[in-house]
């Protein structure tokens, strides 16, 4: 599902001769086709009744957790920070999206039924609502990120944790204290129309993954990765580290808000208690389990960890034990996560097939015989001259 990855098209790298690669439009086309195929198959299965209503609900939740995990991965895996307040951004997005849609329904004349049938006005309202949720979360991300990103590691973790708690408490008490009828307080926000379905969840997931992937493959993404690798070096390369840290953090919050918006429509009730500390940890576990910095890892672990508790309902007395044991085993045997920082690329697989299983590296040496000659000359010639100099120097110091 991840979009194509440019393995050979790095600036300045001569394309290895004889290596057949896919053009960028071709790569996008292949991935677009795959996405559509998945979507159609999913829709058909749901319409045909192969997948039950309950299972559809679980699938929607998987999609929501995929966005949450992949968005948190921007801040943890790619930027290398450890924020613990992802549930806070999710709740901001969820509340703002749900409230926006509920208030606007009367204004534009959309009923709850329209979301099921999918009238154009309802679809429009959904799109604007989701984006509104994301933007609200992103603004919170900016407000929290600017002061928080001055800190690192444990300190950042604690400050973000604190902010998420503040958000939760605000959601719980804003109505009572300020006399609004906005969030519904501790009882929660009820009567949210079920505007989330398989189709729009799938599309939002696909778009989110595409945007995050494209961002990380761009020049901006490279800058973010360089900060994780070595902040001082990144700074001395001319990367504006403050800007990019904030950008990554805000992007992370934005997509968490989008996921929150979907979540509100999927569950139908927003209660502040759902967005506590444990929710943030749950999302973090998905990222760590999948492998920090691996998008596919986040997708897989979000899927598995959402299905696992549901699948284990039959043995509900033991399911948390199994869940915990799975986590411990993975961390013992794969401390870097299931996939480490490996990322899957469909185009790369197709290229391998086109080239009969050879990798681009297998072609590389053939292109640079001249360079090799120079290199060997340097390796063998120059040092031998310096060795003499060195021994001479040693002799003189011994005198």
């Amino acid at each position: 599902m991840t979009a194509s990855k440019a393995t050979t098209a790095q600036a300045g790298t001569p394309a290895a001769s004889g290596y057949r690669s896919l053009s960028m439009p071709m790569r996008y086309l292949i991935n677009a086709i795959l996405v559509v195929v998945f979507l159609v198959v999913g829709e058909l299965m749901i319409d045909g009744g192969v997948v039950s209503r309950y299972q559809t609900g679980v699938i929607e939740q998987i999609g929501i957790y995929i966005i949450l995990a992949v968005s948190l991965n921007i801040a943890t895996g790619y930027l290398g920070q450890l924020p613990l307040g992802h549930a806070g951004f999710m709740s901001v997005g969820g509340y703002s999206c749900a409230i926006f849609i509920m208030r606007m329904m009367d204004v534009v004349g959309v009923t709850a039924r329209d979301f099921v049938t999918g009238s154009p006005a309802a679809v429009g309202l959904f799109v604007i609502g989701i984006i509104f949720g994301g933007v609200c979360a992103a603004i919170c991300g900016l407000i929290i990120g600017v002061p928080a990103l001055r800190l690192k590691g444990d300190y950042l973790a604690i400050i973000t944790l604190g902010f998420a708690e503040i958000i939760r408490v605000v959601m719980q008490n804003i109505d009572g204290v300020l006399g609004f009828t906005l969030t519904g307080g501790a009882k929660g926000l009820t009567g949210i129309p079920s505007y989330t379905n398989f189709l729009n969840t799938f599309i939002v997931v696909a778009i989110s993954l595409f945007l995050i992937h494209t961002m990380m493959k761009s020049r901006h993404g490279r800058a973010i990765l360089s900060i994780r690798d070595n902040e001082i070096a990144a700074e001395s390369c001319g990367v504006n580290t403050t800007y990019y840290k904030t950008l990554a953090f805000v992007a992370s919050a934005f997509f968490a808000g989008v996921a929150g918006g979907l979540y509100a429509g999927c569950i139908g009730v927003m209660a502040p208690a759902k967005f506590g500390f444990m929710k943030s940890i749950e999302i973090l576990v998905m990222v760590v389990l999948g492998g920090m910095g691996s998008m596919l890892g986040s997708v897989i672990s979000a899927t598995v960890l959402t299905i696992l508790p549901e699948a284990l309902r039959a043995v509900s007395d033991y399911r948390m034990v199994v869940y915990a044991v799975v986590l411990i085993l993975v961390m013992i045997f794969r401390p870097e996560g299931l996939l480490g920082d490996y990322d899957f690329s469909m185009s790369r697989v197709i290229e391998r097939i086109m080239n009969h299983g050879k990798r681009p590296e297998d072609f590389a040496p053939a292109t640079t015989p001249a360079v090799e000659a120079v290199a060997t000359a340097v390796a063998s010639g120059a040092p031998s001259a310096t060795t003499e100099k060195d021994t001479g120097k040693e002799a003189s110091t011994h005198e």
Partner: protein, 235 residues
């Protein structure tokens, strides 16, 4: 007019004064070295010039313009590159990706050109183009760090301990490259503990001791100076 002129620069880490009011300048085309023992304030000076640390007082003028208070990424864009101590290559990226990062402030077309130049100076990097930088040897990482700094097309290149932890053969190779870069027109500010090598290639040198400049002179003068020999060159 000097290309870089530092005057009365004072830097401290909390209560500890690392640099206590130093002044020096570098003319275009020179190799200038700052030598001194551990903790003399050499790296602090370089990091301050690069904008990574804010000084307490003093001024740093680069081509007549004040650098104090300017963000590090803008200083790089002005033509001043730092090759930081301990190499600090991006270990998870390949050699060519590292070099790409070095040219971050430049356009792709410029980078393509500079890359050829860097590969000319460091043929070994071209050989290892697709290798992940973390798997390079110490010497190769140093070359990569230097190549990466060069990618920003600096007018002034600041090298912080390029010989640190390298085998003598490699130290010689690195210093040959430093001289070659200088011949091609890059002005170099070199910080070294290996005073012997540094003074041999440098036009001028400054000796730093606990945050102050205690001696200055041409490389050749300092090389034969009694105090310098006693303190840094082992008699």
């Amino acid at each position: 007019m000097a290309m870089l002129s530092v005057s009365d620069l004072a830097v401290s880490y909390g209560a500890i004064k690392a640099v206590k009011g130093i002044s020096f300048d570098i003319d275009e085309g020179e190799i200038v070295t700052l030598i001194g023992a551990n903790g003399a304030g050499k790296s602090t000076t370089l990091n301050t010039i690069a904008g990574l640390i804010k000084p307490d007082s003093g001024s740093i003028k680069f081509s007549g313009e004040e650098l104090v208070g300017i963000k590090p990424h803008k200083i790089v864009a002005r033509g001043l590159a730092l090759c930081p101590e301990g190499r600090r290559v991006f270990t998870h990226m390949t050699v060519s990706e590292n070099l790409d990062m070095g040219g971050y402030t430049r356009t792709d077309a410029e980078n393509k050109e500079t890359l050829e130049l860097v590969y000319e100076h460091f043929p070994r990097l071209k050989e290892r183009m697709n290798q992940v930088a973390g798997t390079l040897s110490g010497g190769e990482q140093q070359m990569l760090a230097m190549g990466r700094a060069l990618m920003s097309r600096p007018k002034l290149l600041m090298l912080d301990e390029p010989s640190m932890g390298l085998a003598p053969i490699l130290v010689d190779e690195i210093f040959e490259i430093i001289q070659a870069l200088n011949k091609n027109g890059t002005t170099i500010l070199l910080v070294e503990q290996n005073a012997n090598m540094a003074l041999k290639v440098a036009a001028r040198g400054y000796v730093l001791e606990t945050g102050k400049i205690v001696k200055t002179g041409t490389g050749a003068e300092l090389l034969v100076d009694d105090d310098v020999r006693k303190a840094y060159l082992g008699g």
